[in-house]
Structures are given as C-alpha cells and as structure tokens.
Symmetry: C2
DNA sequence: AAAAATATTTAGACTAGTCTAAATATTAAT
DNA sequence: ATTAATATTTAGACTAGTCTAAATATTTTT
C-alpha cells in the first residue's frame, strides 16, 4: 500500500496538487505557480519537487505546462485527506476541541504512518462519514461520499435547509459562525434577500432572524429541506 | 514553555541523553559514543548535533568529556516522554492495541506539537499514572511518580508479588509474556529457584506453575505483596 | 507580429542532518 | 613511561528541501 518511503513534505505537495486538481477541468494541468501559492513556497522550489515526485511516478510533469497526479499520487493524497479528517473527528468528538481549533493539529497528525492506526481510529469513531466541517471522509480506496454542493447564497426567498458544511475553514470564520449559532445541523430559512449587497435575512429555529453577509452565505453549504 | 522551534531530531537526541543520564551517576557526563549507540547513528553526527544543542542551551557540552542536559533540555525530554506514554495509554486503552505494538506508533505521535492536545488527551484518559509497560508518566512539570524497582529475580522462594512493569520493551519479549499470561496485574509466587541457571518455578493464581528463565525474571518488575 | 507582461525553469547558494575517513585526544596495558 | 587501544573530533562530501536572481518560455496586449 502506501508504505513506501515518502516524506511529510512530499505528502503535502501531493495533497496540494490533489486539492488544486479538484478546482480545474479534468484534462488540464496544475500549474507550478498555483502549487507555490497553495504551499506558501516559491515556484522554483515547486519545480525541484515535482521533478522528484515525477521520478517516483506519483505524478506526471510536463515542463512549462504543469503536473497531473498518477493513480499512486492520488492514492497517497486521499489517504492523507482520510487521515486528516478522521483525526479532526477524533479531536472534536473525543477530546472536545472546537471545529475552529482542529485543523493545525490534524495537519500534524495526518502524517503519522500506520495503516493499523487509521483502521482502529476509524472503528473507534464508529466509521464517520463527514468531518467536523462537513467534508466527506474518503474510504480506504479513496472513494468519496457526495460532498455538499448547494450554498446558502443559492437559496431563494422562503426556501429552507440545513447547514451541512463550510467552504472556508479559517478559525476566524468558524468562530464567528459559532457566535451566530450557524453550526452544522442548524436549520435556516431565507426570509429576505437584500439586493444591493446580496446579504440575506435568515431565520433559525427558535431564534430571531438576522442579517447574514454575502461572504458568509457563499461559504455555507446547505442540504435543502 | 516548550513552544520553541525544535525539530523532531533534536527532541530525539535530548530524549536519548535523558535516558542515558538515568543510567549513570549524577555528576558524570553522557558520552558521545553512548549517544551514537542509543540513536543508531555515528559518533561524528552526534558531535555535530550536541554542538548545536549546546548552542541552544539545551545541554552543556565539554569536548572529549560528553554532555549534560540543562533544565531546558530536561524539560523538553520529559515532555516528550510524557507524550509518548500518554499516547501509548491511548493506543492500548482506547484503540485496543497490544502493549507489544504501541511503541513505534508512539515514537511518531510524541512529536506532535500542541500543549492543548496533551492536556486534553491526559483528561480523556483520566490522568493515567503509568503507561501500558508500567512506566510512570511524568506530570507537566516533569516530575515522575515512583518507578518499579524490584525485579522478579530479586524474590526468594515462597515470596509473592504482582507484576507492575517490564524492563525490556521488545515486541518479541512482550508477546512471549502475553502467551504465558505474565501481564501487568498478575500475581506471581516463587515456588522454586533452579540454582544452576537461575531460572524460577513460578505459580500464577488459578494456573499451574511453570519455569521462567533468568532472562525473563530480570526483566519483570514486581510490587511485593 | 512585435512588444510587454507573466509564468516557469535553471543556476547557485544555504541549512539541517547525515556519513566516511583521517587526525587527535584520552585511557589502558605493558 | 612508552606503547597500544579506544574514544572523540575534524574535514569534506552528500541528500532533501529551500531560497534569490537570472535566464528562458509562454501568453497577452497592442
Ligand atoms: Mn482541516
Ligand atoms: Mn476539516
Ligand atoms: Mn514506548
Ligand atoms: Mn512504554
């Protein structure tokens, strides 16, 4: 399986490429610069690294075009995402962390190498399907369950739904959501849309309604009721 | 606290020095070669590293004599041991690993950096005092509880006690102990000592008695009944 | 289609950590 | 007190990963 010799750095590059691949069309390449952006590093460093990863057959690299993950690279990336999200569930469900706190710790824990550990953690958590931010947890084969698609900003007046995920993950954003009780599982109904700034007046169950900015509406995933 | 920039490698060196310090007299030095042995590396590499650690005031280094941990170095080492042992408890108590399996995984987990995580893990495990091998878990200040001292090999005929720890940690040894039911908490009584090879005939509660080799007797810690 | 702007790669340097081989210091043996 | 054996340090080289600056390729604008 994924028991090859691979560094945490290499894993992080593959994860970044995977994540960037999701945002572009199937047959296009992930550019050097976009990877540098995502990894907070320099394009020159990326070129070095993708050459090494290509050497290890984890991706294909076409100079001046970009890279594409191979099956192996995809497997390593989804394994990493699986571990990241399982650990986030652990941190929230078992240790009582908030959803705003867990990401940096999961960034470390995802690199722990032990298939048996992942397997037992998964069982201990009772095979969760989604992480604390509503992101689906891929299975051992790297298959994802359906991910939330509809944003709060897609709803029309009088439509209602349940918050099932967040698009942005910054702690500040998540803490703000907590303070407004806009957490996963909360039912929301649109009572009004303010045209000039695209903000919405939202009604929560057993709560008074209030204004929600466009920025927030574009970062909340909804399961329509 | 321990939030300085410190690499896992540096942490491992400090842990090795700490462990070696325990085995020698208070005022003597830990030698370069002994560190190289412990770390499975070369003496030349150790010299390089201890110079860097001395630079960071984590230990004092006297060329051709050896090193001694500073207060800071000692704190980093005991923090690491604390984390290692807490994770071992987690792996055994919560995830169902055997005591023979946990060490290599804890070697990775001990390097996760988050004081809050350690604190919450400690609480989640209900503040355990000993790890699955009977080794005491130091507190936040690095203070240790009493560690087991008496070995099974110290007992005389007809004396009895409870197994509270193991001196050796190899998986093979631990698995062998499991197969003989010589696990922590087991009550043992010496019924006979074979002089020529220093092996012992041991009686367990509700079990028939059997021969235990000298090597094993020297690696089992006993709390006398 | 040339010029300008942008993206990407190459070249060379740096740090952390490691190694081997050679030099030097310390300790033990005669 | 020399000599021999052992321990330790230095010197020089190597890899992974990173950076800046310069060179080159690609894309966009005019
Ligand atoms: Mn995360
Ligand atoms: Mn998440
Ligand atoms: Mn251990
Ligand atoms: Mn242990």
């Amino acid at each position: 399986m994924s028991q090859k010799k691979i560094s945490s750095t290499e894993e992080n590059y593959l994860k970044a490429v995977y994540s960037l691949s999701e945002k572009i069309s199937e047959n296009s390449y992930v550019s050097t610069n976009s990877i540098a952006d995502e990894m907070q590093t320099k394009a020159a460093s990326v070129t070095d690294m993708v050459k090494r990863l290509a050497e290890k057959t984890m991706l294909t690299y076409v100079p001046y075009k970009g890279v594409r993950l191979s099956g192996l690279g995809k497997k390593i990336a989804t394994d990493l995402i699986r571990k990241h999200r399982l650990w986030e569930v652990f941190l929230v469900e078992k240790l009582g962390f908030t959803w705003a706190e867990v990401h940096p710790i999961a960034e470390q824990l995802e690199h722990i190498k032990s298939d048996e550990l992942v397997h037992r953690l998964d069982a201990f958590l009772e095979y969760p399907e989604y992480d604390p931010h509503g992101d689906p947890i891929p299975d051992k084969e790297g298959k994802f369950r359906a991910k939330p698609e509809i944003l709060l900003s897609d709803l029309k007046i009088s439509e209602a739904g349940i918050i099932v995920g967040v698009k942005m993950h910054s702690p500040q954003f998540l803490e703000y959501l907590d303070s407004k009780k806009l957490v996963l599982g909360t039912k929301v109904e649109i009572t009004e849309i303010i045209e000039f700034d695209q903000s919405m007046i939202v009604k929560l169950e057993n709560e008074s309604s209030f204004n929600v900015s466009s920025k927030i509406c574009k970062n909340l995933y909804i399961q329509m009721a």
